[in-house]
Amino acid sequence: MAETTVAQEVTRRTILAAAIAGGAGLAGVAVAATPEADADAVKEARRMTGKVVTLSPRLHLLMPSHFPNGYIVPFTLRIDSKMTDTDHVRQVQVLAPRNPINPVATFYFVPGRSEPVVSTRIRLAEQQDVLAIAEMNDGALLMARTFVEVETNGCK
């Protein structure tokens, strides 16, 4: 029992360290962007939010492409924005289309104060495209998707 606890702790720390170390080791970006999957992601976003979104390279959604534990999947999001009064990110909504409850979190940023970079850990029920939708100050809705496979259902 004690050994199990130690093993989990080590895993968690390792994951955290990996997440903090930045994007390099997180392979989400390496997944080939197929036009079909992109179109599906846009459709899913429409279904869940009722809004039309555009995939954008300004959003960087960094997650492992494969992760054993669906309960604590590392998540890092970075958006290219100067965060000035005239050009900034207002908020980012994170969605998991194949979770029993789709919304994951919404992050709100303040121009001149916050940098649009955030990390957390999320639960995923099964393999899916995780979606991040950023609302910019001009109302534009920019989206990124990252396909993540998990071995255990993190929503049970």
């Binding site: 955290l16 903090i20 309960y71 604590i72 999947v73 998991a96 979770n99 029993p100 409850i101 919304p103 994951v104 979190a105 919404t106 992050f107 709100y108 940023f109 303040v110 001149g112 104060r113 916050s114 940098e115 970079v117 955030v118 990390s119 957390t120 850990r121 999320i122 639960r123 995923l124 993190g154 929503c155 049970k156």
Partner: protein, 108 residues
């Protein structure tokens, strides 16, 4: 349930205009409302549903959390600092409980 314990990691001091990274964590089960107990009854939802960071009173970062945020929610974010002052960290739980921490930041 053990009392949720919040923790933050903030640099003690910073230079004016610097962007600092703030790491936060609260020990909390984030009960989703999807699980059943041993009698087959639904365990009611009880999660931290909001996290707020204030800098000298001004809200500078905020997050809505839903069921899919992992237990013991960890959030790290960045903040551009300009003056010395007080950082407040606030976690709001379902049914109104509030957990909070504050930190004094020195900016040269």
């Amino acid at each position: 349930m053990a009392t949720p314990t919040p923790r933050v990691q903030v640099p003690r001091s910073a230079t004016r205009g610097e962007v600092i990274e703030i790491k936060t964590l609260i020990e909390h089960p984030m009960e989703t409302g999807l699980r059943l107990d041993s009698n087959g009854e639904v365990i009611p939802r009880k999660i931290i549903n909001e996290f707020i960071c204030r800098y000298n009173g001004e809200v500078v970062f905020r997050t809505d959390l839903h069921e899919a945020v992992a237990a013991n929610p960890f959030i790290s974010f960045s903040l551009r600092v300009t003056t010395s002052g007080r950082l407040d960290f606030i976690w709001n739980e379902d049914f109104g409980a509030v957990y909070a921490l504050n930190h004094t930041l020195l900016v040269d």
